[in-house]
Symmetry: none
């Protein structure tokens, strides 16, 4: 079905479809994901366009995108209900009818069977695809993707559900694109600077900045609350040369402003989380762990158990949200609670020691703090948190003062606990 296309550098446009995007009910996260995956594979994105579930507008956007791009990736509007019109619109656009795709139907049946349900007529209709398209199977959902070729342009329609789209893009669509194009390399490297505003920084490095353009390296300044990111971007077919050029310029920058550089960031990489790092360390060292949580209310345990295989080292937790449970289950003496309060060093240390003993693990971790919004005092304002780790014959504890926002205090407390643990493990 697919004609071979062998242009040089492909360029892509993304069209995301759905009224929910145009009324702000949903933030378009799909586009950033797609753009990242494409860039990592040498493909530039020219424009991202979000339009509503409107036939005329979708067709306009498709025609417009083709002026600039030779690949158009669309997401959204493939659900079984009446408000989703992308498939119908594509039939009209390509002047084609529908065919019933047996394989797509098998996939729908498989999914419904796994949920213990019968396929409805509406879902059966999801196995119908435009006659001229190549069907892209959807591992995680009922809406198949569709791959079209017209006037040497590739047009692909994917579902809007992020994890369905991601699997389709990574496993099927990207490999298909790679087969048809000789892709260049796109390099983005990011230098983190701290302690200097972007305009001061720009003054300081202006000569260095001027030396980038002869090498076809583009510089971008990305200021955020505390950090200015400098992104160096370049594109070409010789990966070694591109990398060497960028690395050399980063070395020069390090010489130029060593006092402001606080790190490098790898573009597009999923950052390894603290709980993943700790999971690896615990497995390696064959240690077990239990937690006793107050202010984090289960979030610390959740982070630890979000890692696949965590049952190898994680035994469990007592969440002692009330003082009664701290006393009864974690052997915190009433007197200690009365004298120092639940949010205190002796209490959190006792919690860590007790849970380790009670659950018979190598390590005990405990948190106790005031997440807010209420419960703060002058002496212990909202955001005050104690964290303790009991390991070997050591007990490490530390006090933190985070901010006023409950959600952030819970997150930061759990991160602080994991970070103390990480430091002890390495």
């Amino acid at each position: 079905m697919t004609n071979a296309i062998n242009a040089g550098m492909p360029s892509v446009e993304i069209i995301t479809i759905g009224d929910e995007l145009l009324i702000g009910q949903t933030i378009d996260t799909n586009s950033a994901y797609i753009a990242t995956i494409l860039n990592l594979n040498g493909i530039s994105v020219k424009q991202i366009t979000s339009v509503s579930d409107n036939e005329e507008h979708i067709i306009y956007a498709l025609n417009d995108a083709q002026k600039r791009a030779n690949i158009i990736l669309m997401t959204g509007g493939l659900g079984p209900t009446k408000d989703d019109i992308t498939k119908k619109t594509l039939c009209k656009y390509f002047n084609t009818g529908l065919r019933f795709d047996e394989e797509a139907f098998k996939n729908i049946t498989r999914l419904f069977t796994s949920y213990g349900r019968e396929v409805t007529p509406l879902n059966r209709m999801q196995a119908e695809v435009p006659t001229i398209c190549e069907t892209i199977y959807n591992e995680f959902g009922t809406a198949p993707g569709m791959w079209f070729v017209k006037d040497e342009k590739i047009i692909v329609s994917m579902p809007g559900v992020p994890y369905e789209m991601k699997a389709m893009l990574q496993n099927i669509i990207l490999p298909k694109i790679k087969k048809q194009f000789t892709l260049p390399h796109i390099i983005h490297k990011i230098v983190l600077t701290q302690g200097i505003g972007e305009s001061f920084l720009a003054d300081l490095i202006s000569k260095w900045e001027d030396s980038l353009s002869p090498l076809q390296i583009k510089l971008a300044y990305l200021p955020s609350i505390d950090i200015v990111r400098l992104r160096l971007s370049t594109k070409g077919y010789n990966a070694d040369e591109l990398n060497n050029n960028v690395n050399q310029k980063i070395e020069e920058l390090k010489q130029l402003i060593p006092q402001y550089i606080c790190g490098l960031e790898t573009y597009g990489e999923e950052k390894e989380t603290l709980e993943q790092i700790i999971g690896k360390l615990l497995k390696e060292k064959q240690l077990t762990i239990a937690t006793a949580e107050s202010c984090t209310g289960g979030y610390l345990a959740h982070l630890i158990t979000s890692v696949a295989g965590s049952s190898e080292y994680y035994v469990g937790s007592v969440i002692a949200y009330s003082d009664m449970i701290k006393e009864l289950e974690l052997n915190v003496p009433t007197q200690l609670l009365q004298e120092h309060g639940a949010v205190s060093q002796p209490v959190v240390e006792q919690m860590a020691i007790s849970i380790r003993k009670k659950f018979n693990t190598n390590i005990g971790v405990a948190t106790s703090g005031i997440a807010g919004p209420s419960g703060g005092t002058d002496e212990k304002p909202v955001g005050t948190v104690w964290v303790a780790v009991s390991i070997g014959n050591k007990i490490i504890s530390d006090r933190f003062l985070f901010g006023k926002r409950r959600e952030r205090n819970i997150q930061k407390s759990a991160q602080a606990a994991l970070n103390i643990l990480r430091k002890e493990l390495i």
Copy 2:
């Protein structure tokens, strides 16, 4: 400077500018924010377009947007560094030069003084604006916004830093737009349904759905992990009539599928979560609750304790990630575990009963399942989850079969537990 424009319903397009958007380094959250604020004020958004810091492309996008919209709101590209070219591009687009804006410069000076710094020449240049624009002052940053009128179209350029843009939009730009247009009302109301897939739901309510279009009400289905949101949208000048129509249809829906409706959501407001709903019910009924978690690993407790004030009703949890803890802490008999396995009705029921007794609460909730990716068998595949609620003299338990993905299984299990609890509480 600004000509009065008095067309009827204005329509808006949003153009967000920045290479970081096209390479996926930054997710465009500004557009969803702007779209929400506009909809709440009766203004529809036709298209959202993201383009890179490229003069030609920005000008193309501006011309294209004017075909559909009479107001164009742009963000991004106003920083002091060389990579930001929006202001220069707008000068070219409007065929105008720059003027030095004393007020904008005072604002820049004020900001630098507050940081204890001198204004750099680069920042001084930020006080230059296109001669023909009206300057929009930036309370929180150095880049002024710019308001242009051309051929009866309004074109506004705002900085891309979210909090700078938000203040500008809310305090200056929106009031200016409101003065120039007689704005209609846009109503979005959202009904939350649970326990039924979107295609089954669509079958069930298809007649009701047909009755919406004569009233100019548009229906959208928005499926998420456990909930399908039904959004009813309408637009017009008579707010009472619009509200009455939508409310009446929601009442009809409540009659039609009372068993699946689990709440309403106010558009543009923070969504009420299941844990918030349960929090309210528990407070109202003055009941206390404890949890015993296996597969959810603390996530259920985390959801419950993410609600401010949850310490009034939530006492704590035992996370029994290992069978040993289920035996020792939750009195699950060894025999029961051996005969039925940890993921079974008798075990999860015993967990719920035990935690309630142990923590002396009115309610006990328990989960036990196979989150995956490993641990599944033919009889109990990954995604098999048992949930139990012990309340009054009742024990309610239910078995679920979710999918293969660990993260989703954890989320869905916790949601399922909360939902059983919600049903028992109402």
